[in-house]
């Protein structure tokens, strides 16, 4: 394990039991992901992409093997510890956006921030509502939605909602951003915009992005590709294709 390793999976398996039937979603998977990478997880439906993301983000626990994040074993954390872990280490972007419908755009971002507080340059954590609000507004500005701050999710388009979700995920300053099919519920053009935004933010913040998609074309934009196929797993590093506007899928 190199010093740059952020996520480390060692012989991880995940089985689901559905009544009598055992479904083997992942078997004996080992891989390392380095800090700051833009990782794309590709593979047809049902190959275990979501399962893998759930394991990394401590939503679920592996049946076998262990998972280390920043060198810490998260395999046997309690429910409470896992909530703490998700709170501080993971930013989530969902396929269906999952904004809280009763909160405005800025409040949705504030919701994420309020969980961890705002850390200033000297490392002090502030929970003041003022700091939280201004940070949330900064992030809305970064995703280009400052003018929509007081709008409710139902008043926004899917793309706008997903941007708010991105702001919510990044505002808390977690080392890892997890996105499961983030464009799955968006049209092509909007999807591209969202991906572009994520790429930019990856460059700017040096956060590790792990994005799952069934669309293998999207692998082109990754620094690091994890390809889950029926046969097994294949990982490779690459120079990403940066001209997203000409990406075809």
């Amino acid at each position: 394990m190199s010093a740059l390793t952020l996520i480390n999976l060692e012989n991880v398996s995940k089985d689901y039991t559905m009544g009598e039937v055992e479904v083997n979603a992942l078997s004996d998977l080992s891989l390392e992901i380095e800090k700051g990478k833009f990782v794309v997880l590709i593979g047809p439906s049902g190959t275990g992409k979501s399962t893998l993301l759930n394991l990394i983000s401590a939503i679920d626990t592996p049946s076998n093997g262990r998972i280390l994040i920043e060198g810490v074993d998260i395999t046997f954390l309690t429910r409470k510890q896992r909530a703490q872990f998700r709170r501080h280490k993971i930013g989530f972007i969902f396929q269906f956006f999952n904004l809280i419908p009763t909160l405005t755009a800025v409040e949705n971002v504030e919701f994420g921030l309020a969980l961890v507080g705002v850390t200033d340059s000297s490392g002090n954590i502030s929970y003041s509502t003022k700091d939280i609000h201004s940070t949330a507004m900064d992030w809305l500005d970064k995703v280009g939605l400052a003018h929509r701050a007081r709008h409710f999710p139902s008043q926004m388009s899917g793309g706008e909602q997903q941007r708010v979700a991105i702001a919510r995920a990044l505002a808390k300053n977690p080392p890892i951003i997890i996105a499961d099919e983030p464009t799955g519920n968006l049209d092509f053009r909007t999807g591209i915009k969202i991906l572009k935004l994520m790429k930019e933010l990856n460059k700017e913040t040096q956060k590790t992005f792990v994005i799952a998609t069934h669309n293998s074309q999207l692998a082109k934009i990754a620094d690091f590709v994890i390809s889950l196929q029926m046969g097994g797993v294949e990982t490779y590093e690459q120079i990403p294709h940066d001209d997203l506007d000409n990406l075809i899928w």
Binding site: S50, N54, I59, R79, R86, R87, F96, T102, F111
Partner: protein, 884 residues
Amino acid sequence: MNFLNRYWRRKMIGDIKHQKLLFFSIFFLCIFGVGSYVTLTMGYTNLYVSLDKIYEKTNFADVEINSHSDSWFNISKVDLFTKNYSLNNPGFNLVNYRLLTKSGYNSSMVTQENIRYQLTEGRAVGINWSLSSNERINDFIFEEGPSQFDNNSIYLEAHYAHSYDLHVNDSIQTRILGQKFNFTIRGIVYNPESLLVIPSRHDFLPTNRFGIIYLPLKSLQQYTNLTGFANNLIIEISPHLSDMEKESLISEFYTQLNAYTNNSFAPPTFQQYQVSNWAINMDLEEIQKIAIVLPILILGVASIAIFITLNRQVQSQRRIIGIASSLGYSPLDILVHYASFALILGLVGSIVGIVLGAILSGGITWIYAYFMNFPTIISIEVQFGVIFNGFVIGTLITFLSGVIPAIRANRLTPREALQGNIVIIKGKHSLFEKIFRIKSFRIRSTVPIRNFFRQKSRTIATVIAISASVMILVVSGAFNDSINHGISQQFTETSQYHISVNYEGFKFADLGLKDDINFISQLPGVVSVDPVLEMPSVINFNGKQREVLIRAWNSSNPSTHTFQWTSDTDQLLSKDGLVLTTGLARTLGVSTGAVISYGYPRIPYLTSALRAAEAIYNLWGGGERGRNKTIEYLNELITQNQDTLSFSREREEIVYRNKSITITGVTEEIWGSIVYATIPTLTKVLHIDDFKDSNISIDLSPCSKLILRIAEPNNLTLLEEIKSEISSMNEIRSITFGYDFQTSINITLTAFNVIVVIFILFACLLAGASIFTTIHINFQERSRESATMITLGLSDSEFLFIISIENFFQTLIGIIIGILPGLWLADWILSNALRLFYFSIKVSLQTWIILWGGVLLIVLISQIPAIIQGVKMDLAEVTKDISN
């Protein structure tokens, strides 16, 4: 039908499996609502049916004719006439001759401290023992016995037997016309003419301490020296005759009989005016108001809860509806699915409810009958009207609750339906939201506040369900408290009545009353003695009429009674005016200062006696001697004509004269038919005070009872000692303790109380169930949102806090909104349901605490299954779950 389509069928089963608790609750609400409606309504109506059964079985007399008081008829002479009459009038089935006399009993009662003896009054009924059971009218229902009957045997009426714990083969000390007998009880019986024991129509309350014994006519004739005589005729008429025909047959009979016997008989009393039957029907009618209103209320609240829950459950399936319609299912297909789903739920729920309700209604009838002290012959008649109502309402509400939201979802385009949020949250900030403006974001306050105002339909649904539940809880709690409070205030603060000494008829001031009062006043332990005159009356105001009892005190400020005035100007005037109780004032719409008309009884014999007395005074030349002679004359007259000189309660008919009078006050008491006055006010209208004010100067102020206040009212030994001293006085009919009186009031109120208690139980269950379903669906609706928050790292306790605080505020508002209609409804029922009593609305602190605490507790408990579900929630699945 598309309902049979495999996909839909699976989906339906899947839905139910997924939301077991929710469906179980909706199902429960339906069963419970319909079931309790059927149980309570049928349970009550079956009382009538059971009553008819009892009457039929005992051959209850169609009519009763008495000879005038203190006169008897020769049985063989009258029998000759009736035989002849029935030959010519085939509808005239049967006649029984009976002899009724007053009687008294010395009965013992075991109290906590020792055995107490009570001198109680009653009636002995001589009946022709040789009649076969189908010749006998007003026959018995045996509760115990009969056993071997001999010369000394009697049957004892059941209510009295219960009061004094008397059984077959016990003996009972009886006095008949001053003679003492020791009878052996050979049967404890119910009789149709005393299912409620009320000595006469002019008695205020039923009493279980009025002993009725039944014995062979011949024996009673012997004891009373009336061999061959009777004073009571009971008649049974062919059931095939109409009421009109019966009535004309009887009036014809009565006219001819009176012609034949030289006007020996008082007018006939028809079955519906027979005192026990009359009072029962009156009571049943009163209870009807609540026995019918309360089940409807329960059904109503259950319907609201079903509607809210099922409605929201279907609404939460909008996405599924969207998917189905985008797959090509027609709106009709989708509607049929939800319609059949709701219909099945409603049908099964209602049918199960009806079946359970019908079975349980027998129990409810039994409970009513048991507490009303009826023989528990229960007959259950399936009432199709009630079943039909329950069925239609239960099915229809459930059906509509499922179909209405489905229709609404159907109107959306598939794209709209597929969109995530159940409620399209509007951008505009409502007024309330502006008031509660969110300046800074805090998870623990902002999220609940936003939810509260933004999920309006959820908030409204929760508030409605909780306020409906609170409403019925308030109604039931208020009943209980108001009755308890009313009774306790009446007997602790208002009336200081510990012993009541009841005279046979009137006792007049200068003719012994003053001596009696002096005698009693000096007995150790007696604090004060108030003479009281009670007389029946009828009061009228604005065309509304009520039968009342006027209780007249000797002074405007009686020592044994503290009026609870309702306004500053209220008072009891010493010479004029009436004081009403709150209940009467309210039902008549009268307030202080109003002028009403009231009837006072005509006592013709008294008027002529007074004229004669005046003549005697003049005859003896007036002065001291004339006065003494007059008193002597009056004393003799009274001992011989007790009954005719007062309004005897044995007499059925009282002739009233009307007079206008001003209401000078309204006092807050539990009596629904008592009016207060002073004795001088009454003596004036009865023209008795003329005598006092004339030069004869004999005070003839009459009194019918003395009310005593005792230094230590809880010292039973002292009470017994005082009583035994008073027993030796003349013309005393009975002596009762305030304590026993309070007991008999409680007994009278039991039927009402029983309904109230049953209602409280049902209300609590229902409130619990409807709050549960509401809170439960509050969770279910937002599982995706909750999962998102938890995924983002919200801890379980914070999550719980957010949800609880929101439910808490909704509950709070629900409680506040539910209280007023609850109080209003309780007040309406309390002031309309009872004839004899009136209870002003009171809710005790304890009830408030239980209500608030209980409802909040139910809310907390209702959260538990949902919380468990939340904790077990598969975050990965739920954050994606499109149905949420």
